[in-house]
């Protein structure tokens, strides 16, 4: 399948998170939003980060963007820790990694026209010379994100655009400085379903045409499947990465019980199939609090394959279970990855 076409880390990874943790001090005690996460994105590759609310996806993304400093571990861009860079190199990094926020209503400045929003970085960093050239470049960027004809959009204010149009402007803004990596933080989750697919298609086209790497954050496995099929997917649960591998493997042959539960939860279009489907192998539907994590594997209170003594003792490490696929599960590590029933 196409997964084989992905070169296995031949190139030096563009962005690496090695053992990064983020601990927030709260009244309820320290909260480990992200705990020893390892991730890497190769140039031009897509890495999907999947997980439910509170799993630490956004925290990980913000660390990757250099917006927050990790409390432990290293965020490396092009091989160097970004927090050891001097001011000049840090700005180079800053410009190479762009972020598309979740909420297009909050991420555009309400007092600036689309033209002003798009030309500011172009002029500031000397990408183009002069107001005329900047306006032309802005129009070109709008065409790239399918906002045509651009003249209709350039003089508008964000409040005159719809959510989908704004999100396209946000993408165009992220493209102004020719980034190497775009971090898309639930960038389509606030859009209408009908708009979502066209924005995703547009992002996919940019990924293919411009060779930009993507760190694509979503809670929706279907979107990860659609957007990151040729890339990799990491599944997060309560601040830890529980399974990592090529997207087709994660979707079709998940090994970690949590990933399996996620896949099983996807509704089938056929009601007969849904009725006969196993009601899910979860023992509990309650998500434990980050402030009070279960001992050992954080998933053990909900896990259908829980084995007392094995799962509630040590925290499982992410270990290889198949070619290119790794999971953090004691049971899978011991028994090996059994083939899925489906």
């Amino acid at each position: 399948m196409s997964a084989a076409a992905v070169p296995e880390a031949v190139a030096r990874p563009l962005m690496t998170l090695s053992g990064v943790s983020q601990v927030f001090d709260t009244k309820a005690g320290p909260i480990r939003a992200v705990d020893h996460a390892n991730l890497s994105v190769n140039p031009g590759e897509v890495l999907c980060l999947v997980g439910e609310s509170g799993s630490g996806k956004t925290t990980a993304a913000r660390m990757a963007a250099g917006l927050t400093r990790p409390s432990g571990g290293e965020v490396k861009y092009d091989g160097t820790d970004i927090w050891s860079l001097n001011k000049k190199d840090f700005s180079t990094f800053r410009r190479s990694v762009q972020y598309v926020h979740q909420d297009p209503y909050a991420s555009l400045n309400p007092t600036r026209t689309i033209q002003q929003t798009l030309t500011a970085p172009l002029l500031k960093h000397g990408v183009v010379k002069g107001a005329k050239a900047a306006a032309d470049r802005a129009a070109e960027l709008l065409t790239k994100v399918d906002l045509t004809p651009p003249e209709n959009y350039l003089p508008k204010y964000p409040h005159q655009l719809s959510g989908g149009q704004r999100q396209r402007v946000a993408v165009a803004r992220a493209l102004t400085l020719d980034p190497k990596l775009i971090i898309a933080d639930e960038s389509t989750s606030m859009l209408d379903v009908s708009i979502r697919i066209s924005v995703l298609a547009m992002l996919g086209r940019l990924r293919d045409e411009l060779g930009v790497g993507f760190l694509f954050i979503t809670h929706d496995l279907a979107i990860a499947k659609y957007f990151g099929w040729r890339g990799k997917t990491a599944v997060m649960y309560l601040g830890r990465i529980v399974e990592f591998g090529p997207t087709p493997k994660i979707i079709n042959a998940p090994t970690h019980p949590y990933t399996r539960a996620l896949i099983e939860a996807i509704p089938e279009p056929d009601p007969d199939l849904t009725r006969t489907k196993s009601a899910g192998s979860l023992r509990s539907l309650e998500i434990p609090s980050l402030a009070n994590l279960p001992s050992g594997c954080a998933f053990h209170p909900r896990c259908g394959r829980f084995e007392p003594g094995l799962c509630d003792g040590e925290v499982p490490e992410l270990v290889g279970v198949r070619a290119g696929q790794s999971a953090a599960c004691h049971v899978v590590a011991r028994d090996g990855a059994e083939e899925p029933e489906r």
Binding site: L67, Y99, S107, L108, N109, T111, T113, P155, A170
Partner: protein, 301 residues
């Protein structure tokens, strides 16, 4: 800055050329009736006091015409206790009051914007230093300090007076601006601007500040009001030198002369009061229209 030209696509309320842009602002002004009336009042007072003095005759004391009532022939607003025409003094005496009020407010607003937004955005020691300085100035009773300074120095230059009043009234707005910026800087579009490496000055003054333009403008108008009150208060108490003539000095003289107890001197004591009240009312009403001009969301309605 050609790219800064404001256009609003479909509605085309404000065009790109100079003339239509002016017309756009004028039509935006008219959209709020209260704002337009305020604008007319302020424009009238500013024009009359700025241009009027070139055409008024010099007023001479005249013992035969002391304290003529309102509407006397040749003296529409009556005369004062020295027989000088009140209307001419009103026209001549507004310029310095309005000038000092606006300059003082401009000084305090500029200080507040720069100090407040940088304190909030940069945080750390800058924030502590600004907040501490603001608190210190805030605790000093303004009118008392001005009184002491007035006793020590000759406050006869309108510029010096404006600097003094403005230099003492920045802390309240500084703290308000600081709290606004503290909230605005967490917004995602500010984060996006930071990710584009646009630079601190640009992020603060181009991305953040325009979002509070109407708030700042409102406070500027309040600043003008407060500065004029402080100034008139100084004159009324006789703490600023009573050389020349302006609305404040007129009030002082009317008060000293006991005009409040004399029916015939109604015009003498009320004219400056009414003028000051009208000016401030006009300024406050005008802010409503200016808010519509500055906020693109309101502009399109």
């Amino acid at each position: 800055m050609a790219t800064e030209t404001v256009t609003s696509g479909a509605v085309a309320a404000i065009g790109t050329t100079g003339v239509s842009r002016f017309a756009g602002i004028l039509s935006a002004l008219r959209r709020s009736p209260a704002g337009f009336i305020g604008f007319l009042i302020v424009a009238f007072l500013v024009l009359v006091t700025a241009i009027g003095p070139f055409f008024t005759p010099t007023v001479e004391p005249n013992v035969k015409e002391i304290l003529l009532p309102l509407g006397s022939p040749g003296h529409l607003l009556g005369t004062d206790n020295e027989g000088k025409d009140v209307l001419i003094q009103m026209i001549d005496g507004g310029r310095s009051v309005i000038f000092i009020g606006f300059l003082a407010a401009a000084i305090s607003t500029a200080l507040a914007i720069v100090l407040g937004s940088l304190a909030a955005y940069l945080g750390g020691w800058v924030d502590s230093a600004v907040v501490t300085a603001a608190d210190v100035v805030l605790t000093v009773p303004q009118i008392v300090l001005l009184a002491v300074l007035g006793a020590l120095f000759k406050l006869d230059s309108p510029f010096l007076l404006a600097v003094l009043v403005g230099g003492l009234s920045w802390p309240v707005l500084t703290r308000a601006v600081r709290s606004q910026v503290l909230s605005l800087k967490e917004r995602e579009f500010v984060e996006a601007a930071r990710l584009l490496d646009l630079g601190t000055a640009r992020v603060v003054f181009v991305e953040i500040l325009p979002n509070m333009a109407s708030f700042i403008l409102m406070n500027f108008m309040i600043g003008v009001t407060n500065a004029i009150y402080s100034l008139v208060g100084l004159y009324l108490l006789g703490l600023a030198p009573l050389t020349g003539s302006n609305w404040g000095i007129m009030l002082n003289r009317a008060w000293i002369a006991g005009a409040i107890f004399n029916d015939a001197s109604l015009g003498f004591i009320l004219s400056p009061v009414v003028a000051i009240v009208l000016l401030l009312l006009g300024l406050v009403m005008m802010t409503r229209s200016l808010e519509e001009i500055l906020n693109p969301r309101l502009r399109d309605r």
